[in-house]
């Protein structure tokens, strides 16, 4: 059964447990603790989301305006 398990775990852009440990060891050097990484990434995700929505809405309104003219 292991091949299918691994396949699912690795599907579409693999993350191997060893690779994950390696990535974490690098991140630990930069952020010191996982908590800081989690907070920074969460804030970034929120900023990107709000930015995308605002700019997208602005662009869509512009398109609608041009279309109605």
């Amino acid at each position: 059964m292991w091949p299918l398990t691994d396949y699912r775990l690795h599907h579409e852009g693999a993350i191997d447990p060893t690779l994950l440990s390696w990535i974490r060891s690098i991140l630990d050097q930069f952020f010191g603790s996982g908590l800081l990484f989690v907070i920074i990434l969460s804030v970034l995700i929120l900023i990107v989301t709000v930015g995308m929505i605002l700019m997208g809405r602005r662009a869509r309104n512009q398109v609608s305006k041009n279309h109605s003219e």
Binding site: R8, V38, T49, I53, A59, H67
Partner: protein, 433 residues
């Protein structure tokens, strides 16, 4: 801020959809690939084995593969926007249920059936078809930007899930995914995604959309454009693209699972093997964008065949080079061809068969990709267990990739692709002359 908005208002609206969906795919892939982070937690909490947990994964694999054509047909019928919204909402509910499961049987049901089925609504099939409808001339680069989100999702969000699990436990980490779907994916889809350029008064690529006056005549439909997906089954390009794509699934799936194991069997440390896989993923992201950019300038079939050919050389390196050299050669050569076949195949399908049934057709090819890949991963494991070596497996993949290369090169793109059909405007000009 207002000047930023002013500048961005000149950007074609389709690019907002591309970046929005790339971000949603980034989150979705990260959440799905975090399954691996939870395996050890489930093993301890449910007092079960990895084999039992793997049943959930296996069911999920089959369900997701079979759901692809179904979702393709649904977006052809109802449009992408409603399917993406439903997919993101129901997947969020699925993760909420996952956070409540009491044992491994519920894991098999919730992950294997519910999440794997509902996540099909925001899968690669659905997002690529959505983007295909917004672009014609720049379809290749748009697809590549979209898929770079998938490539980054695992690398960034899986460590995030891993840390979060250490801090708050796996159940609250899964609730974090619910928040990502509810507060990020759904609002982005709701605010940005539209079914087609025509639905907001634009034309594909935005060419001539200034002041909404079209300066380019309507493009002649490709000769093989289908209004019923079954008609595509009677034409050669569909089988050429699908067969080559199955080989793509076989090669990527085998290497995903067996690359690190191969490294260990050759006396290379698992850390080095995993690091090489990380390099492969990084090279993949950069080359993906380059291939997308090139595919808008030269024939896509040529690039697609070349991608398979390069991948065959990568596999050959694993067999003929000393293991330490082969490991890194494959990381760079294989990485350069890793996801590049996806935007090329999806774009060619849309170019040749038009946009009316592109969802179903892309879903069918993705289904073959997933199921073929899953089956061959199992076969490769069995061959290794029997012979103690991956050489025969990798040589078999090299031969299959060479066949896929010639099949791709033999697609008559200039004859069948909409990109090479003369437009009405050009036709009028020719007639006048």
């Amino acid at each position: 801020m207002s000047s930023l908005f002013k500048k961005t208002s000149n950007i074609f609206y389709g690019w907002y959809i591309v970046f929005g969906l790339a971000f949603v795919t980034f989150l979705d892939m990260g959440a799905r690939q975090s399954f691996g982070v939870f395996v050890h937690e489930w093993e301890l909490e449910f007092a079960t084995s990895v084999s039992s947990i793997s049943i959930a994964a296996s069911i999920g694999l089959v369900v997701a593969g079979l759901a692809a054509p179904l979702y393709g047909a649904l977006i052809d019928r109802f449009g992408s926007r409603v399917i993406l919204l439903l997919g993101a909402s129901l997947t969020g509910v699925g993760y909420l249920l996952l956070s409540l499961i009491p044992n491994v049987f519920f894991l098999a049901f919730v992950w294997g059936c519910i999440i794997s089925l509902t996540a099909g609504g925001i899968s690669i099939t659905v997002v690529t078809v959505t983007v295909a409808r917004w672009f014609d001339k720049f379809r290749g680069i748009a697809m590549s930007v979209l898929l770079s989100g998938a490539a980054l999702g695992g690398l960034i969000l899986v460590p995030f899930s891993s840390y979060l699990t250490d801090i708050v436990g796996w159940r609250f980490t899964v609730i974090g995914f619910v928040l990502l779907y509810g507060l990020v994916a759904i609002p982005i889809i709701w605010n940005l995604v539209q079914n087609s350029p025509a639905s907001v008064g634009l034309v594909p690529d935005g060419i001539g959309d200034k002041d909404t006056k079209q300066t380019v005549g309507p493009v002649m439909p490709p000769p093989l454009e289908v209004t019923k997906w079954r008609n595509a089954l009677n034409s050669l390009p569909f089988w050429q693209l699908s067969l080559a794509y199955v080989v793509c699934g076989v090669s990527t799936s085998i290497i995903s699972v067996h690359y690190v194991r191969w490294a260990i069997s050759e006396g290379i440390s698992s850390t080095q093997g995993a690091l090489a896989f990380g390099v492969l993923a990084g090279v993949n992201g950069s080359v993906l964008l380059l291939v997308g950019w090139l595919s808008d300038r030269i024939e896509r079939r040529v690039l697609l065949g070349t991608v398979y050919g390069i991948r065959a050389i990568g596999f050959l390196c694993l067999v003929v080079l000393p293991p330490a050299w082969g490991l890194w050669a494959f990381a760079i050569i294989g990485g350069g061809s890793w996801l590049s076949s996806v935007p090329l195949t999806s774009s060619l399908t849309a170019d040749i068969y038009g946009l009316k049934q592109v969802g179903t057709l892309t879903g069918l090819t993705n289904c073959a990709h997933a199921l073929g890949g899953g089956a061959c991963v199992w076969i490769a494991g069995t061959v290794f267990d029997t012979t103690g070596s991956y050489d025969n497996v990798f040589l078999g993949v090299v031969i299959a990739l060479i066949v896929a290369m010639f099949i791709s090169w033999s697609v008559q793109e200039r004859r069948f692709s909409g990109r090479y059909q003369i437009t009405d405007t050009e036709l009028t000009g020719v007639a006048a002359n």
